[in-house]
Symmetry: C2
Subunit: 371 residues, 2 copies
């Protein structure tokens, strides 16, 4: 057996989820509860009826690559269609980093799979932590100060999971300028934009890729369109980087599902804006923030995505894992311990549940934490 | 950039395919031309309409795992649902082999991705060649003699791509016995069964997994159901091996497409036998063999799959790549050079094309080789 697999710890998110019983309130997984539109599935089915279900080229259906490129104002050759943004993250790390020499710098708190992918691929990995005292505010100076001689990629999520923070224009500018000053030694920036369509700031910051040349971007339809099971995402970047990624992609799965690519094509060329589901989450967020304020729970107000970090009282601050388990036992509410993301002393609440479930869940969390 | 990617040569199959022009005859790609049944897609669409399109568990929808397990007479915990058999191959090599110590032994001629996956994952790889003079006949003694102290996995394809040879019961028995005699040092056998439903021998040999404990099996619906674009396959093996594979699987793509899993569930629990398309290929094969005989082309009669190896005349025997290009230029027929599979001096013909196209293509190949 490959010893790196044994060394990778299991998922705390899925471990808590596995303890969920019928009737429990789920503020754990980032799985939208609203239903996806069915019209794109009907259009995809018509394509299958007309043309069968053959392979697409490895990099994706040319029509879909063109549609994604049009949305991002780039060329189709800069797009690799992937099996969700999970594969896009894996591809970027696998294709762009040399395990013998390079280091990945992760801005934490962060989605735990980033570090685990690096571990799986034998790539050195270091974290630079944002300051809990500022609510994990984006901080270009901290990130720039953490870059070392081996740093070949910086992983930036905006909106960020678990904090919901969105990097504002001024911080993105500062980061791009600081990196550009490193000249030929400047690292890649891998921007995880999977919550791109769920930004509640106005105006929305301009994308980082417009500011910095060595940028790779991952995204998918999972979160914006309640299509986590579609497994359809993309990796964007300079053509040479995408060509390298496509090479790894073909060996790991040949290509993404042709049916899923048809669904994505219908969405990307359809009349609806990609953020059509945002108003639903804006209303949900307003209800969340009002209830958190009335309950007196200390939290980070999310600028984007559909998570909220709640600060634990002193008696739980050193052990968010124990807290999440005790909360589940006592109140039957699933949450995710901050420790899963490198943020001990916090609890991540997902607020995708139906409104009444969310309200009941928050009441129970508050009751438990007041203890 | 990861230097291993630059070192992996490009695909000869796709390189020839990229030169194809409208009107050319395609005897190259292994892409079925018959149309898939639409009923499983309708059933899958109904599932999406009723339940949305959420993630399944990493290892796959429990109902699909159970349906696959029932077909293979194993337990659901022995099944990991994958993005085609391509991902299943990658997972098996990634999860089971230690790049620092282990070697993969490939029985050649072989599907070129086997060696490239090993190269991508830094796993040492060696080939044991079957004898062209016997038409690449399965030969357990040769394989056993090639096993070295570092060999931790043997890759066995039956039916084999590109030769179409099927391992018969006596050779499978001899291989299993020889491996079992190695005791604790016995390697894994990864059986690529992607053409399992397309076997033209009667009776069909019993599966290798029934004879040998350290067996992993890959398969998919791509070839048996004309669903290459569904990207739905599976890896089977002992529970501990599957648990390790699922761990790697979650980081590379989370899970297979939920829609594709619904399609697969409809097929695996449906009334039709899994080899319902075999009669189509049997008729196609009979026409192929009759025409090859009348044309006087030296070839290996396929026991399974939908390929046929044709031996090149002396003037082309040292350069099948040049031959395939010259054939394409002169006669507008796409084929794959044997060199792509480690079988210099041969040409692989795929016989999935419509009957009239296949017949015309074979005439042209014969005319060209007669020169």
């Amino acid at each position: 057996m490959n010893p790196v697999l044994e060394a990778i710890p299991g998922s705390l998110i899925r471990a808590l989820n596995a303890l969920k019983r019928p009737g429990d309130i789920d503020l754990g997984m980032g799985e939208p509860t609203i239903r996806p539109a069915l019209r794109p599935f009907e259009l995809a089915a018509a394509q299958i009826a007309a043309h069968g279900c053959p392979y697409t080229p490895n990099a994706g259906d040319p029509a879909l690559r063109a549609a994604i490129a049009a949305r991002y104002a780039c060329r189709p050759e800069q797009v690799c269609v992937t099996v969700g943004s999970q594969e896009a993250l894996w591809l970027a790390i696998k294709a762009m980093l040399d395990p013998a020499a390079d280091e990945l710098l992760i801005i934490s708190p962060a989605y735990p799979a980033y570090a685990k992918i690096a571990q799986l691929e034998g790539v050195a990995c270091r974290e630079v932590g944002l300051d809990p005292a500022t609510g994990f505010a984006p901080d270009a100076a901290r990130v720039l100060a953490a870059i070392g001689p081996r740093t070949r990629m910086v992983l930036l999520a905006t909106p960020a999971n678990p904090t919901g923070r969105v990097w504002p224009d001024d911080q993105l500018d500062r980061l791009a300028e600081g990196l550009q000053a490193l000249g030929d030694a400047r690292p890649w920036v891998l921007v995880d934009e999977v919550y791109r369509e769920l930004v509640y700031l106005t105006p929305r910051p301009r994308p980082f890729a417009a500011r910095y040349d060595r940028t790779l971007v991952t995204n998918s339809l999972s979160k914006s369109h309640a299509l986590t099971g579609l497994r359809l995402g993309w990796l964007l970047g300079p053509e040479a980087a995408i060509a390298a990624a496509v090479k790894a992609h073909q060996f790991v799965n040949t290509a993404a599902s042709t049916f899923s690519q048809h669904v994505a094509h219908a969405i990307m060329t359809g009349d609806e804006p990609l953020d059509a589901q945002r108003p639903h989450y804006e209303a949900q967020r307003a209800a969340l923030l009002a209830q958190l304020a009335s309950l007196g729970l200390r939290h980070v107000p999310p600028d984007g995505a559909f998570y909220c970090m709640v600060q634990l009282p002193d008696r739980w601050a050193a052990d968010s894992v124990a807290c999440a388990h005790a909360l589940l036992d006592a109140e039957r509410v699933v949450t995710v311990p901050g420790a899963a993301f490198g943020a001990e002393g916090w609890l991540r609440l997902s607020w995708v549940a139906e409104r009444a479930q969310l309200a009941a869940g928050l009441d129970r969390v508050a009751r438990f934490l007041r203890g």
